[in-house]
């Protein structure tokens, strides 16, 4: 590769605290516009902010999950700019003494682990929402003052794919901590990206382009992919890039200029005199630490160790906290000696049901005891594996028990030689080519013939018995 891509991400995360960052208003989403407001979040003259300790606690938890250093002394600053969704025309944010710095996040990308450094995590307040109509623009201040965490990464990401993997890892940790809804469509997670290209091996960073307005993780990936292409073409044509902010146009799948460096704003940060410098006591940090759940990476390592999963399989199971909980409860309750049997069901048939239905594993409406019971039938060779997969689907659809479904469908596996020999004769008769192939030594032909018998018996035949019978019949 001639050029190296360098990407840093800036994620804004709405915390799911009960009340706003600096007042007692509710943070409920979807309420009538301008109903979750008070003099403080409306920035009415004379009102004063008081910081929300719950938000601070969530912020500390997330910072600890990234192994960030928590600052002993921290403060809030005012970021001054005029915009109609910002009722005070300044945002309470953190500038030179952010809550925490110097953490990292391990991501799995293209089959291997990579450490992405986190520059800082700080707390600030969200702005309101503008609604543009034909002749007027309206402001909804319900969102104003909702606590927002800004998570800034170092430029350690080297491809749009890595950025995508970083976002998914981030989301997974946030879900585990239960500090945010993490819903990009609802705007509870937002992401801006900085991207530059440089000649491979070069030390100096290239000209930085800031990308905004991406509404999904895929959008981030697509916008970055477009930018890599655009910047490569410009560099190849020996054209100079200018530092600028560009907007992702999802309809046209292109980025367009929003403002250049000359238009960059001077936010005139200074310490908010309404909120004095405060100390984060060790007790607050240790309390937050004690509230940390087992995080995805730890869980993955444990799954590998305790249940003999491969890293790959474990990673799939732990990416969602609730899925991991469901999976673990299935594995733990599985009575068989070989837990791998259950694991194979989880990452095989169950995951494909989940993907097919676009429903999370844990939300499939499947009772783990029925899954265990179903696997039992297979283990005892009372039903075939193929048949069991069908029953799994029905379990999810109907909510009936595995036993009832097997009985209703008369699906008990046929292992009886007499019952099977008729079908086997018919199959041999209809597939003379495969028969001669088998006799010529092609073992695949046997599999085909067994498959035909299974098909004719509506999946009820015991494939192992069928295989033995066919082999004996043809030898």
């Amino acid at each position: 590769m001639k050029y190296q891509t360098v990407i840093g991400l800036e994620v804004h995360l709405q915390l799911n605290t009960k009340t706003k960052a600096f007042c007692g208003c509710s943070t409920d989403f979807g309420k009538i516009p301008n109903s979750n407001v008070c003099p403080v979040c409306l920035g009415l003259p004379g009102s004063l902010p008081v910081y929300n300790r719950e938000a601070l606690n969530s912020a500390i938890k997330l910072a600890l999950a990234f192994d960030c250093q928590i600052q002993e002394h921290t403060k809030f600053d005012r970021k001054n700019y005029f915009y109609p969704d910002l009722p005070k025309n300044y945002q309470i944010s953190q500038f030179d003494l952010p809550l925490s710095r110097n953490g990292y996040l391990n991501i799995y990308t293209q089959g291997s682990a990579k450490r992405i450094r986190i520059t800082r995590v700080h707390l600030e307040e969200d702005a309101g929402k503008l609604i543009h109509e034909a002749s007027v623009s309206l402001v909804d201040f319900n969102r104003t003052g909702i606590p927002l965490l800004e998570i800034v990464s170092e430029p350690d990401l080297n491809s749009p794919g890595e950025a995508f993997d970083y976002l998914n890892s981030l989301k997974s940790i946030i879900e585990y901590l239960d500090v945010s809804d993490c819903d990009m469509e609802k705007g509870s997670l937002r992401c801006d990206a900085n991207i530059s290209l440089r000649l491979s091996g070069a030390k100096e960073l290239g000209v930085k382009i800031e990308l905004k307005n991406m509404n999904s993780f895929k959008g981030v990936k697509d916008a970055l992919t477009f930018e890599v292409e655009r910047q490569t073409q410009l560099l190849e044509a020996s054209q100079e890039l200018v530092q600028e902010t560009r907007l992702w146009d999802v309809e046209k799948s292109i980025t367009v200029v929003m403002r250049t460096k000359e238009g960059a704003k001077d936010y005139r940060y200074f310490p908010d005199p309404d909120l004095t410098v405060f100390t984060i006591e060790q007790s607050m940090i240790s309390q937050a630490r004690s509230q940390l759940p087992e995080l995805p990476q730890e869980k993955m390592c444990r799954f590998v160790k305790e249940y003999g999963l491969t890293e790959y399989d474990a990673k799939i199971l732990v990416s969602s906290k609730k899925d991991a909980q469901f999976a673990e409860s299935c594995i733990a309750n599985y009575p068989g000696k070989d837990k791998k049997e259950m694991v194979n069901w989880l990452i095989g048939p169950l995951l494909s049901e989940s993907n097919l239905r676009k429903i999370k594993l844990h939300a499939l409406n499947l009772d783990k005891n029925e899954l265990i019971s179903l696997i039992g039938f297979v283990q005892r060779q009372e039903i075939s594996h193929l048949c069991a997969k069908n029953i799994l689907s029905q379990l999810i659809d109907t909510g009936k028990t595995a036993r009832d479904l097997i009985q209703e469908g008369n699906l008990q596996q046929i292992s009886n030689v007499d019952a099977l020999s008729g079908v086997i004769e018919a199959v041999i008769h209809e597939n003379s080519k495969s028969v001669s192939d088998f006799r010529a030594g092609k073992s695949n032909a046997l599999m085909y013939l067994v498959g035909q018998v299974m098909k004719k018996s509506s999946g009820k035949a015991n494939p192992k018995v069928v295989g033995d019978l066919v082999r004996r019949r043809l030898s």
């Binding site: 003259p45 009102s47 008081v50 109609p84 009722p87 300044y90 005139r268 005199p273 309404d274």
Partner: protein, 476 residues
């Protein structure tokens, strides 16, 4: 004596003895206002509905009315900071101090007191509604920015009043109008509902006819407020118990930096007499030094304007107040602010925006914060050895209306003795201590350690009980 001429504590006695009613007190105030406010102009926006008083008779204040500066939020009553840009703003909530007064049985006087726009000024000439006049001589300014509150109290158009003090805005007009004014310790009184000028310096405080009233009113409005992170959780003593009349062996420092060239010689003599009086009453006085005093004015005009430039950003025509019409957002912002703010407000917004700008922040704002610490340390050192510091409140008595209006620097210098106190966050009181030959009042300033308001009241009360300055009334 008419009811409106009495002090609050005198009226409280009468109310308790059922010798008068809140309605009678309001009547006397309205009669007085009708007669002389067209000359003094202490109040703004003219007649207002009378507030019903019935429901408050049971509590401590028994329905006694209190006059409020136009920058303190009063639910449903116009609160405009005497600025066009807040035209029509009626807050949907009460400031914490207003809440406390209502709960104590006080009646919020429905007319609000005049002030320099957003408290930017030392003469009340910067009001959108025009200047207030000094009751002792109508050609002179009442001081500012709480000039309306001070003039109303001095002219018996108010029983007592609340003002706010960012760099002297209570003490200097109290001094110019011959009344008592206290700037409490930063954090003593909640700022919730005080429309901010400079958040790290602003404090609400009382303007009263005598020290006892100041002690009562301070006690009623003090205390921690969970709605104001900068208010301090410290017990509020019964300040009236500090009025013992005894200052024997009290150690008083007289800062040499407060008696400098350019100070009015008449004022200097009056202050020296007052210091002698304190000595005669048993206090021990010695010269002390506050070496960083000369930096107070520049430091103040950096910090205060920086904070103000951000605090005033919200006045943009979007949600409330004045809005200039335009079909373009940026143009609407520009026109609203160009038409809504007065000269001084614009000057301070521009200055404050400049000192916070990229490339200038370190040289101005950051350096000012450092010098502010030095100024505070000056006081800490002196208070290691002294109980309080006594100095003039202002280098001159009241000046003529228009005299300094075109010269902001000379106007800024009239706060030269009051500004350090705000920068250090300490409490200070101004009390009447004499009159110039022209018959204009002069104020004596007493400063103490943080949260030592009780001591200020004790010293001020002792001085007051042994002088007659506070009993003199202007002839209007």
């Amino acid at each position: 004596m008419e009811l409106n001429q009495l002090t609050a504590h005198e009226l409280l006695e009468k109310l308790r003895a059922q010798q008068t009613t809140p309605e009678a007190i309001l009547d006397s105030l309205y009669a007085r206002i009708q007669k002389i406010d067209p000359k003094v102009k202490a109040y703004v926006r003219g007649q207002a509905d009378r507030t019903p008083t019935e429901d408050r008779h049971a509590c401590f204040l028994l329905g006694l009315p209190i006059t409020i500066k136009d920058n303190i939020c009063t639910e449903g009553l116009p609160t405009e900071c005497c600025s066009k840009i807040l035209q029509g703003f009626r807050p949907p909530y009460d400031a914490t101090v207003i809440n406390k007064l209502k709960k104590s049985g006080g009646v919020i006087f429905p007319l609000k007191a005049n002030m320099d726009e957003f408290a930017f000024g030392s003469s009340t000439e910067n009001s959108y509604f025009g200047p207030t006049r000094n009751p002792w001589n109508l050609d002179y300014v009442p001081g500012g920015s709480s000039g309306g509150s001070a003039a109303a109290v001095a002219s018996d158009e108010a029983i007592w009043a609340l003002g706010s003090d960012t760099g002297g805005s209570i003490r200097q007009p109290a001094s110019f109008c011959g009344v008592v004014g206290l700037k409490p310790t930063y954090g003593r009184i909640s700022r919730f509902g005080l429309i901010a000028f400079a958040s790290s310096l602003d404090q609400i405080g009382p303007i009263t006819k005598d020290v006892q009233d100041a002690a009562i009113l301070t006690g009623l409005i003090s205390g921690y407020d969970p709605g104001d992170s900068t208010s301090v959780n410290q017990d509020v003593p019964d300040y009236t118990k500090s009025l013992t009349g005894d200052i024997k062996n009290l150690k008083i420092g007289i800062p040499k930096e407060y008696f400098i060239a350019g100070m009015d010689t008449e004022v200097k003599m009056i202050i020296q007499e007052a210091v002698n009086k304190l000595k005669n009453l048993g206090a021990l006085t010695s010269p002390v030094s506050l070496p960083h005093t000369e930096y107070a004015v520049p430091v103040y005009y950096i910090i205060a304007t920086a904070e103000a430039s951000s605090n005033l950003a919200r006045f943009d025509g979007v949600q409330y107040g004045y809005r200039a019409s335009s079909d373009n957002l940026i143009q609407m912002y520009k026109l609203t602010r160009a038409q809504g703010f007065g000269q001084e407000a614009k000057r301070r917004i521009i200055l404050g925006t400049f000192v916070l700008s990229h490339g200038y922040y370190d040289a101005y704002y950051l350096r000012a914060l450092k010098v502010r610490t030095l100024i505070k340390q000056d006081f800490d050192k002196v208070f290691g050895d002294f109980d309080c510091i006594v100095a003039p409140t202002s280098p001159t008595s009241a000046f003529k209306i228009g005299e300094r209006a075109q010269d902001p620097l000379s106007m800024y210098l009239s706060d030269i003795y009051t500004i350090s106190v705000n920068l250090a966050g300490i409490p200070a009181i101004s009390i009447p201590c004499g009159f110039t030959k022209k018959g204009l009042p002069v104020g004596l300033q007493i400063m103490a350690k943080p949260f030592n308001e009780a001591l200020l009241f004790r010293v001020a009360h002792t001085f007051e009980q042994n002088t007659d300055w506070h009993k003199l009334k202007p002839s209007l």
